[in-house]
Subunit: 151 residues, 2 copies
């Protein structure tokens, strides 16, 4: 297997070391947070397995693991919204990455057609135990998902 990463070492090595030793979860995944290269806004939260992480590092494009389709996913292969990665960082315990992306095509990162998946706000101060309402942020679809994905 060409995508094997070195096994994580001590706490000190994981947190302060300068070798990538990712800590995948029980499903072999880590969280991958995509932020817009221009604005720094979080646009997508997805997952990477070892193969997706290795390909992202090697190619500088966003590769993920689709939990719903259970397959390696080159973002944009279907929709044209390929993500060029301009910066990649790993966190203290090496189980999450943040990637800055410049997205091709319409610039949409969400499968609903919007630039960001985070197009609804949860107003604060809503009491526990009552259904919480959401508010749209105004982020509108940039393309028609049905035309791209069918359905």
């Amino acid at each position: 297997m060409t995508t094997a990463f070195p096994a994580p070492g001590s706490h000190e090595e994981i947190e302060e070391g300068l070798v990538l030793t990712p800590r995948f979860d029980g499903d072999g995944l880590l969280a991958a947070i995509a932020v817009d290269d221009q604005t720094g806004e979080v646009v997508m939260v997805a997952w990477m397995n070892a193969e997706a992480l290795a390909r992202t590092i090697a190619t500088g494009e966003g590769w993920y693991w689709s939990r719903s389709r259970k397959e390696l996913w080159h973002k944009g292969a279907t929709s044209g919204h390929v993500q060029t990665v301009t910066d990649l960082r790993i966190d203290c315990d090496q189980d999450a990455v943040v990637l800055r992306v410049r997205t091709a095509g319409t610039g949409a990162n969400c499968h609903t057609g919007r630039k960001s998946c985070f197009y609804r706000r949860v107003p604060l101060g809503q009491a526990e135990g009552t259904p919480a309402r959401l508010e749209p942020t105004g982020d509108q679809p940039l393309f028609d998902p049905k035309a791209v994905y069918g359905g």
Copy 2:
């Protein structure tokens, strides 16, 4: 249980509805991405169970579930780095939230003492199958973790 959320409905309701129906994973958790209120920079990736999410919404402060300690965690209760949430958003499939935070004390969000947990870069273009090196971003500790957490 006062923190129960309504069960998720159809795809359409989950993606376009204006009721919060979070989709927790098999461990009862969703990903919570904290970004700095001033800069928009991602500073921490953590996890919330239903209780943590409900308390965050109700109180406007950052509550999480610690996967390592297996307990509800009011961020800053020990270190003083309480996070005041200024904005909370949920994503398309309602299994991840982004919260903007203003962090008290030194402003550190990482248990290593740094402002951000993402203090190491993964240089792009490193070939698959070779150990990938990391580079420090220059983010320095703002306090001495040993003085706060012991160890």
